[in-house]
Symmetry: C2
Subunit: 154 residues, 2 copies
DNA sequence: CGCATAATGTTATGCGCATAACCTTTCTGT
DNA sequence: ACAGAAAGGTTATGCGCATAACATTATGCG
């Protein structure tokens, strides 16, 4: 691998991050959401009530980030936090009715965003994309250190 | 396309962004750099002195971000800013000797990061990856609205 | 020319995410 | 049973990135 390729790849990942996030921000803004918050809503919608540690794990961000996100979503009435009965340290986070309605709207936007993102790509590429991206994520994941099925050279 | 795929794709992009950036941060930290700054150094290394507007364009971030990045890299002695002779508004940014040396070290890290990222992926996938990622970036790019070769449905 | 408009850059402010330090509660090992 | 370690959560702080508002300089058109 030459440097030119390496640079192109890293740059491409960086730019995709910026643009995809910016596009998501534009789509979410009318709902009063900032990018990142949608992931929390979708996670709660998928799995039901979770404690913050589980959210931190699922969203792939650190506990302090979850604290702030939940606080803001609670302030806007989309989620509710109540103390866990069996563990006085933990707090259970769940969607409110407003939050559930919002999650539905987010799902539509998310669908549109995904289609927009892969527009014009070959069908097979589109099919394989999530696995490819997840493999790359696993390769550079410092939280779950190296748990890929097909380990490489480097 | 069903929602499950859309969610998987968006989530995969989001997670790859977080992890790739985190890994980059870990690699750059010993050099005293934060992620994002390396892009500026590499751009200057590639193309020579640029004014900030050009950097903003090349890095894909907004002018205020460039202002802060250049200020910090100037404070650490890696770049130099001098007024443009032909345009009193613009300031020309260029690498110092220290900056050039740092850029060389960044290049090595960048190479290692790219190899680490695509480890275990099929060779053909690796070859096509940059183009795929760039196509997706173009699809969601709100700055350069829709300039892809193979236009899609959406 | 002179004036409206565009371009360059800066400051102020806000959000997401990170780490570090801290408190409280739970678990574990002896 | 109790001390130490581990886990859950919060606060404080810092960086990258964004937008909005602004000052300065260039430019294009009458």
């Amino acid at each position: 691998m030459d440097f030119e390729y390496a640079d192109a790849l890293n740059q491409a990942i960086r730019l995709l991050s910026l643009r995809h996030r910016a596009r998501a921000a534009a789509l979410l803004a009318p709902l009063g959401l900032h990018p990142g918050q949608e992931a929390l809503l979708l996670e709660l919608d998928r799995t039901g009530p979770r404690i913050q540690a589980q959210l931190s794990e699922a969203l792939g961000c650190e506990p302090p980030s979850v604290t702030l996100m939940t606080r803001k979503l609670e302030a806007s009435g989309h989620i509710r936090r109540e103390p866990a009965p069996s563990d006085k340290r933990a707090s259970i986070v769940e969607l409110t009715d407003s939050g559930r309605a919002l999650a539905d709207r987010v799902k539509q936007l998310w669908h549109a965003l995904a289609e927009e993102t892969v527009a014009g790509l070959p069908a097979q590429t589109v099919t394989e994309l999530p696995a490819i991206l997840n493999a790359m994520t696993g390769n550079v994941d410092t939280r779950r250190p190296a748990s890929h099925t097909a380990a490489g050279t480097a």
